[in-house]
Subunit: 196 residues, 2 copies
Amino acid sequence: MSRTADRPAQEEALSRAVWDVLAQQGLERLTVRAVATAAGCTTGLVMHRFPNRRALLRHARELLHETSRRRVEALEAAAGSPREALRAVLRQGMAIDAESINGSVVWIGFLAAAFADDELIEIHRRNNGLWRQRLERLVRAAAPEWPAARAATVAVALGAMVEGAAAFAAADPAAYPADLQEELLGATLTAYGLAD
Amino acid sequence: MSRTADRPAQEEALSRAVWDVLAQQGLERLTVRAVATAAGCTTGLVMHRFPNRRALLRHARELLHETSRRRVEALEAAAGSPREALRAVLRQGMAIDAESINGSVVWIGFLAAAFADDELIEIHRRNNGLWRQRLERLVRAAAPEWPAARAATVAVALGAMVEGAAAFAAADPAAYPADLQEELLGATLTAYGLAD
DNA sequence: GCGTTACGGTAACATTCGTTACGGAAAGAG
DNA sequence: CTCTTTCCGTAACGAATGTTACCGTAACGC
């Protein structure tokens, strides 16, 4: 063999470049050239790592999910109680600092792109289903006395509220500051009887 | 003068074509030619009605807001009680049939486009602020005994839940059917003590 | 009926897109 | 040191984009 490039590391760097472009320039300017520029390389490397643009987006979407899954599992493991775990996991889905605001913008960009790409929408649905299952499990642990149907409904309601709040905050951070979002989460958990 | 074209009607038809393309092909395929084809004309008419593509998108976005505002006000006027009005207004924000699912897809498309267009994001923020004020007013009417801060928080929480649920349903209608969304709304209103 | 004027379709423009092909260069094998 | 193999930047391709210019045409005033 000759020189060996660290392909996984390059693929991850390119995926992060996809996130950057999506966060700072939007879906319409998410071109192969823009990604290459953001990654500090040329289109040559991009097209040698991925067969085409769609595969690049798919990889970036999968890696985004994987990253957030790892973060969520760490939060869950670090939590002192089921209700603490539920709150922490929901909280990380909101857009409460510059990084998570960027994350929400990227999330919305991928969602919009998915409507024009069957494979992206498939990835979205699978990940959303896993997210829903996770929330359901956390709610069941936080309220063991509830019937299963109640836990399922409340889990989706909580997930939807967090997702919507993150979208609001991503589009207008000044109007939806961090403390407002924290208050939303606290009020909602309290309303459902899931606060500490 | 010579022949007089019904410019407002044409502009509305073109805006509706923008919605159609956004709903059926996604933001990435939202081109001037695609809009013209969907409207049954050529790019010539489009570019004679709007100075450029961005102005076309802006008009379509404004008209979308105006349309939904009228629908919401009709629901509000037809409601028999403040709580009925609140529920009806929130319900119409969800994606419970083919038309409202399309509406949610379009809404997400415009939001994603707004991140790359200062004027679009400005329109979004203004409309979102009006939507927030409306919900706040409806919540105050539905729970007159609440302090203002409580009403404001709950209004945003309700709006975020509806928006998130609509996004979930738009991306995966089979996993988030109409009755599930109705149940989400009912459970959330009940949790806040705002159900009938 | 005729001339004028706005209307909008046609076609072209430069630019940018995704993708492909090529070639120079760097690193390991012998 | 040399040969070989992999890596990736360069440059080009055709297609598609937003936008502009042009021109036939249909309707209205007279």
